[in-house]
Symmetry: C2
Subunit: 697 residues, 2 copies
């Protein structure tokens, strides 16, 4: 099954990287709750609450207009000529990769006035979901009576790889087997893949991320967090009728809107034991770790402006993740929330226990999960600290060492990430020409190794394997200083040379990765034998128990696959009063001047110089009750006519607890309004041609 989620970098509403195993499930849906699969939209809720019935054509059009940014976000086609709209903060990875000490596109933005100026992205892959097929029977059927847990896990992995590989060969499409409803169902999702993406427009970071870390994950908000790419195939822009028409009027308060995007992960059907583990062990460790990394990066930044530029993206991602995790963690610390969760679980288990055949089939699942969670906790430090953290090149080195070994094996027994169906995307990342910053990598690898040594102690096999009694700084300096892996051609030569070339390589980082590889495999094996093989069948049982008890009127937990959320444009109670459902450009200038234009409330020069040119009453950002989470960044907000009225870029602070529970009184999705994008393109960025392409009928 796909492990895409675990590759992802942190992000605002980007997928947060610590999803751990794919833990999926289904939830009773109330109010405007739910991230629904396109095969099972919430027809009844939509009809009853909003008098709307989506046609198959409506659903297909939305689905085929939606794109996944594989580095952790979402987007949509917004012109017949391949324009794709997403957030500046989804684009920022690529913006940074095409930047240099001389030209900072993250900070200054970018606009290609002509097609010739559109700028190719080094390693951006987009996916469009073109078909969905239920393969539950095949996957579950592979597990035969009498198999023990380990054998069953192997059988599942083998059949999954076989399905994916066969689909790839038959269709040429990227093919992922996705567990939904905690494994209550398995689906084969086929994607059209795009890898020739070109940058067309991004505003200054200060326009996109006005208010910075303080305003992040809050509303009222004042961000023009947009970016436009154009998708090419065979050197030409993609022409297609599957794009969203632009409705600059946007929604009135109370109007029905939809979000079509790729929520990364939710944990709404976690058992009480799992929630407690996250609360008591996982969050505290991850938060501390992230804070340490921010500190290390800031120390590197302090060396000079170019170092600051290099580190800025990573700091941004960590600060963003920290704010999200803190909100989620505080949710778990709320005793009322935990009591609610425990009550729901008790009721569910009582219903299962009420029927002897249910109890026999599913009753043991909770204890099995508790057992697996206890094992997971045992290995928590190992999984977090037996890593070469902070160096992209070290990650590439390990990938090369494992790649050459894995591809020689039958597909079904390979490590995850190395299955046939994943190889093309993997090689796209592996040979990316994006720049590396050796001094930053050395510094971060050093601090990462120091952290691991302090946490694991000198006798841990990882420490012994990679440090061999030497100091972290010495090891990192040697490994980064002596490697040629910054050069994609060198990586390619190693991969093409296969196991022999990698075994013979004296490249310092390859040597380090070779030392690390057996320890990594040992950790993976231990987790498979003690956690995954117990947890996966138990999760499946809970998923099937929910079907048995509640029927299929629920939506599955998020899996970074395409989902449809719905809701109304609507304010919410906030801090003694009401937050409105939208803001205007008046509000942007108010907030900037309210802080005397001090960072992070300064405005790009053009905003001050041309403030009399814009219509200040233009709606800027708006909120809706649509149910979203990290990964939804860049998702289109769509009205009932299927037109684009906004661009998701964030949730409010009250939505962070949405990882565990959705509450429509305060949970809001925050979007850039369709009107302001056109207004600023025309009046501030002299990009009238681009605006015309967006609003054409």
């Amino acid at each position: 099954m796909s492990r895409l989620v675990s590759h992802l970098r942190f992000g605002k509403l980007l997928v947060l990287a610590f999803c751990g195993v794919a833990l999926l499930g289904c939830i009773l849906a109330f109010a405007d709750e739910g991230m629904w699969t396109f095969d099972n939209p919430p027809r009844q809720n939509l009809k009853e609450r909003y008098g709307f019935t989506p046609t198959p054509e409506w659903l297909d059009h939305i689905r085929l207009s939606s794109v996944r940014f594989n580095d952790g976000g979402s987007g949509s086609f917004v012109s017949p000529h391949g324009l794709v709209l997403t957030n500046h903060h989804v684009a920022r990875g690529q913006l940074q990769k095409v930047s240099s000490a001389q030209q900072n596109y993250v900070k200054d933005g970018f606009y290609a006035k002509t097609q010739a100026e559109e700028m190719k992205c080094p390693d951006l892959e987009l996916n469009v979901l073109v078909s969905m097929e239920n393969v539950t029977d095949q996957v579950l059927g592979a597990v035969k009576p009498g198999m023990n847990n380990q054998e069953a896990l192997k059988a599942r992995k083998a059949v999954t790889a076989r399905i994916e590989s066969a689909s790839l060969q038959a269709t040429g499409l990227r093919s992922d087997v996705i567990p939904l409803y905690r494994g209550g169902e398995y689906w084969l999702y086929r994607y059209k893949k795009y890898t020739d993406m070109r940058l067309v427009f991004a505003p200054e970071q200060q326009a996109a991320f006005f208010g910075g870390d303080p305003d992040n994950f809050t509303f009222p908000r004042h961000d023009i967090d947009m970016a436009l790419f154009r998708v090419y195939e065979n050197g030409q822009p993609v022409e297609s009728a599957n794009y969203l028409k632009w409705n600059a009027r946007g929604p009135a308060e109370g109007n029905l809107v939809f979000v079509s995007g790729h929520p990364g992960s939710t944990n709404r059907t976690y058992t009480a034991t799992q929630l407690e583990y996250w609360r008591d062990h996982y969050y505290p460790l991850r938060i501390k770790l992230a804070k340490d990394r921010v500190e290390a990066l800031r120390s590197y930044s302090a060396r000079g402006p170019e170092q600051a530029r290099q580190a800025e993206g990573a700091i941004w991602g960590l600060m963003n993740a920290l704010k999200a995790w803190t909100g989620e963690y505080e949710g778990l610390l709320d005793e009322a929330l935990m009591a609610k969760k425990q009550k729901e679980e008790s009721e569910f288990r009582a219903l299962v226990a009420g029927k002897p055949n249910w109890e026999k089939e599913y009753g043991g699942a909770w204890d099995a999960i508790a057992q697996a969670t206890s094992k997971r906790r045992e290995m928590l430090k190992a999984t977090q600290f037996r890593v070469l953290r902070g160096s992209r090149m070290a990650g590439i080195a390990l990938m090369i060492v494992q790649y050459v070994a894995e591809i020689k094996k039958p597909d079904g027994v390979r490590l995850d990430n190395f299955h046939d169906s994943q190889l093309e995307s993997l090689r796209f990342q592996l040979f990316s020409p994006a720049p590396v910053y050796p001094k930053m990598e050395e510094w971060m690898l050093t601090t990462g190794l120091k952290g691991s040594e302090a946490e694991l102690g000198p006798n841990d096999p990882f420490i012994q394997a990679v440090l061999k009694g030497r100091a972290p700084a010495e090891v990192a300096k040697e490994a980064i200083g002596g490697t040629k892996l910054a050069d994609p051609a060198f990586r390619k030569s190693l991969v093409e040379g296969g196991e022999a070339a990698v075994a013979a390589s004296t490249d310092t980082l390859i040597v380090l990765a070779r030392q690390f590889d057996p320890v990594d495999r040992q950790t993976i094996k231990w987790m498979e034998d003690n956690v995954e093989s117990v947890e996966t069948p138990a999760e499946e049982k809970i998923g099937r128990a929910r079907f048995a008890v509640y029927g299929k009127s629920e939506y599955p937990d998020a899996t970074f696959t395409l989902r449809l959320s719905y809701g109304a444009a609507k304010g919410f109670p906030m801090n003694g009063t009401n937050a409105p459902y939208k803001t205007t450009l008046y509000g942007l200038y108010d907030r900037a001047l309210s802080f005397d234009l001090k960072s992070p409330y300064d405005l790009p020069a053009r905003f001050m110089e041309r403030k009399n040119a814009v219509d200040l009453a233009t709606p800027l950002n708006f909120v809706s009750t649509c149910d979203i989470i990290g990964g939804n960044s860049g998702s289109p907000v769509i009205d009932r006519d299927g037109q684009l009225v906004g661009l998701i870029f964030d949730g409010n602070i009250e939505s962070l607890v949405g990882r565990f529970v959705y509450d429509d009184t305060t949970n809001r999705a925050v979007a850039v309004h369709a009107a302001v994008m056109i207004e600023v393109l025309r009046k501030l960025y002299d990009a009238g041609a681009l605006a015309d392409e967006l609003v054409q009928k």
Copy 2:
């Protein structure tokens, strides 16, 4: 001692009327905490935190420029020609009283273009504090060894009346004996009194109270909550050098500012038993009662637009009080706050217990207060429901019945409110020509009596005395329908006729008041004997114990007497981000349009018509850490040069718990910025001459 506080009506930062007994005290001051008396400003804090030392001249000038609005607010002289600045919501009582079915000054505002147009207020009294004298020894000295509690209380009241009366005769000034530090000290405050007040300017209510009840007690905020009166004496404007010069630049973030005003009451040194009583009994009852009254008033409003106009002020006051009380009540429901209070009390009591002579002198105070509080609880329903609620004329009737009896007694034994020193102010209220609305009075008296009957039962002496077995509606209809008390001349004739005239009167409301009078006296007597006589000496002991333990480095709880607060203009953490220290006119238009101009976010016509005339960058409202509470409405915000930079009109939602505890991380005082008042007077209200008078050097 003065019982002014208990006469006061509800108000935004007006004094809230349920202060109960005057419970005073002193508190250890940290950070920018404290409402300091002018005899004991926080010199050390000011020097250490802000490098500022107030001179005696600076203090005198601020004090003599500050005024008390006796109906519950504060203000300041702002021109050499008697202009006094306060809030629209402080002025709204007078605005309503000069309004009619044909002309609604509350809603539409008012501007006197010439002196001749300035409009006399029916019953507004202003006080300026001209001298302060410590009379602790005289008051405490009146209590002789061997007196029981009741005798001691009588002696205290007698000496207080004597001091006040003597001072009045000697100086002609209003003279109030004020307990400070819970009776640790008693002070004689002498006031210059003004009763010829004329309305000069008020904006539309929607400009003053933009955002209505939802935005009330919150920040960021967008209200031009100002009004200007001119003070007359002998038919001419008062000319004086004691006024605040205008500084339209206002404070920069972090600048030191002061608030000079009249905080009504705080309960920061309440004992744990008292806090529990408020939490468990007092708040729940008062909140329910206020909600019932709002419902009754809304039902009256629904009869038509003129009825709505009549009831609107009372509804506003109750909604305002409800929001404040709810915030305060939630503070007490917060277990962390209660734990903090209990810990402080334990530490204080342990220090007292540590010295045998302290323990002997003060140790019994807490138990005494607990005993008095338990008695207070016994009488809670009686004190709340043995009243003719909802009818101003019924209040006047009772006042007349008691007045003619009390003034025949020696001053020292009269009911509170009827001492010589209070009579002039009392008669000013009694003979007020302000309009009464008989139909509203009848409806509200009916619902009030119904509530009393339901709560007290048919056998309660109050119910028996006023209803005599009849229905509330019948009693109210007869009493209000048959009275001539709406006519001030009739009231005067009764008062002048004395006991005989009142006893012989067949006026239906006088008859009802005569029936009620003995019950009222009985309640007052019971409270004196069982509560006040125990509580007052116990409070004094706690006050003196604090002096013994902590020295006089503290400030007394608020008493609706002049206080100086200080702090910095400063934002605060809010809902996941930061609130700025100020807003601008951009923000007003943003918030209005964010709600699509729907009430309460609609704007007066001139704001839309002239929006291109104003400088949108003009600062609108700002916050500071100054420690304030209800009664501070209309207080000037003053810079270190003694110039006016703002006008207090509210606290943020986080400040409501300030009744019990001050926390400078989030507690903020909200003010109208000096700049915006000038900007709108000139650009929106064509009141350039008035603006000139304010900013003249």
